[in-house]
């Protein structure tokens, strides 16, 4: 269980690929440098999409938390 306090949360549960990643990108776009965004996604594709994009964009994936019916991704904007 992470103790990271996100600055904002995107709830993309129920969205089909690439919805969760695009929702995260949209939120990061308007975030400040250093902000942590939490993404909630129940799409398994996010487990590869989010780390790949975070690395490509130079943002840091701080943690991935597995919940009963979804995953939570914590991404810090560079």
């Amino acid at each position: 269980m992470t103790d990271i306090e996100p600055d904002d949360t995107v709830d993309a549960r129920g969205a089909a690929c690439p919805g969760p990643l695009m929702d995260l990108i949209g939120k990061i776009r308007s975030a400040e440098s250093g902000d942590v965004i939490r993404l909630l996604s129940d799409n398994d594709q996010s487990l590869t999409d989010v780390p790949e994009w975070a690395e490509e964009a130079g943002n840091e994936l701080l943690a991935v938390e597995e919940r009963d019916d979804h995953n939570e991704f914590y991404v810090e904007k560079a």
Binding site: G14, C17, I25, R29
Partner: protein, 381 residues
């Protein structure tokens, strides 16, 4: 007591639904038991797929416009007005100006997408698009004079209207420039925000292969951050920069603010049950087409099929019967792969697309459908 169905939005979804209800509920409408009102803020219905052909000098924007009055059944009350407030609890709509509010028993939101180019600094000044009438004619003027340099097509964000249209544009531009003997003097680059060239993996794999064959450059994971119209560059959140001589973009899209203000969903899209199309946050409210957040493409065929489902459900509810019609995600789409060839895909929630081999026959089928679209709007096709 007369039941009042109000449809907001006179695009494909709203217009097909209105005409479907006029047919389906004819006895109730004739008896005065039901009233259907279609509200639109423009007296014309616009068939947006025509805009794809405008930059290549093949069609005019007027080819995609018809007065709603000519398309909508006389049994439907047509109201040209702009909604200023959606009140799901009071089941009432308010309008700009001095027009009195309207109460509804059933509301269908079919308000579509809006372009939001101002989200990206410099985009309005530096970028062209074919997602609006004025954008398409401005791009036509530029493209007809364009003979050499870097042509960049950048998809900025999803969802956007017609997910196939960016692919179609670069395939058509490639072919069109070859036909004119200019292709060797033009570099075409296509950018997409995720790690493939289209949101759907099956279509992405198919399109990526064609791009490689045609020497169309690809930049994936490219989320435009800003455009510098003076330096003619576009930069991405991922840190890459592209030079352009002609920049064509799919601008960021959003719904309408009224939907978020009414508590029906974020970014102007209504949260719905993806099978029944009923709003999750309000009773007696449906959404369809781009407005419904279902995850399926923002495409005319989707709005068309969803309108049929909503019409059946509304008719059942009005007649006091259980509503059983559901939407299965059905999407049909022609994809132009050049100036005289096209592919075709059909898919739904359960079955992925498998693009058909491009052919001249499919290209003509697409053009034939575009001509017969007005029968769709009238509810006949």
């Amino acid at each position: 007591m007369t039941e009042h169905v109000v449809i907001v939005g006179g695009g494909t979804g709203g217009t097909v639904l209105a005409n479907d209800l006029a047919d389906r509920l004819e006895p109730e409408l004739d008896a005065g038991d039901v009233r259907v009102t279609l509200v639109n803020d423009d007296p014309d219905h616009v068939y947006k797929p025509v805009w794809l052909y405008v930059p290549f000098g093949q069609r005019e924007p007027d080819d995609g416009r018809r007065p709603l009055d000519d398309l909508v059944d006389d049994a439907i009350d047509l109201r040209i007005d702009r909604v200023s407030d959606i009140g799901p609890e009071a089941q009432r709509l308010q309008f700009h100006g001095s027009a009195p509010p309207v109460s509804y028993d059933y509301l269908v939101l079919a308000t579509g997408s809006t372009l939001e180019p101002d989200q990206i600094p410099g985009l309005t000044e530096g970028g062209h698009n074919y997602y609006s009438e004025s954008g398409a004619t401005d791009l036509r003027d530029e493209l007809l004079e364009f003979t050499e340099g870097d042509l960049v097509l950048s998809v900025i964000g999803t969802p956007h209207m017609c997910p196939a249209a960016p692919l179609e544009f670069v395939f058509m531009a490639d072919d069109w420039l070859r036909e004119r003997g200019l292709r060797e003097d033009v570099d075409i680059t296509y950018t997409y925000p995720i790690q493939r060239v289209h949101g759907n993996p099956h279509i992405a794999e198919w399109a990526r292969h064609i791009m490689a064959e045609r020497d169309i450059n690809v930049e994936t994971f490219f989320n435009a951050e800003s455009v510098d119209p003076d330096a003619e560059t576009i930069t991405s959140m991922e840190g890459s920069e592209l030079d352009y001589d002609l920049l064509v973009t799919i601008p960021p899209h959003g719904g309408i603010d009224l939907i978020e203000e009414a508590g029906l969903g974020d970014d102007g899209w209504v949260d719905v049950d993806k099978h029944t199309l009923e709003a999750e946050a309000a009773d007696n409210v449906y959404a369809l087409g781009d407005t419904a957040d279902t995850g399926v493409p923002n495409a005319g065929s989707v709005a068309h099929y969803q309108a049929g489902v909503v019409a059946q459900r509304l008719a059942s509810e009005i007649r006091g019967r259980p509503a059983t019609a559901t939407y299965d995600g059905k999407t049909l789409c022609f994809i132009e792969t050049g100036m005289d060839a096209a592919s075709f895909v059909e898919f739904d929630y359960e079955n992925p697309p498998s693009p058909a081999p491009p052919s001249e026959k499919l290209h003509w089928s697409k053009l034939a459908y575009n001509e017969s679209y007005w029968l769709t709007a009238r509810g006949l096709l």
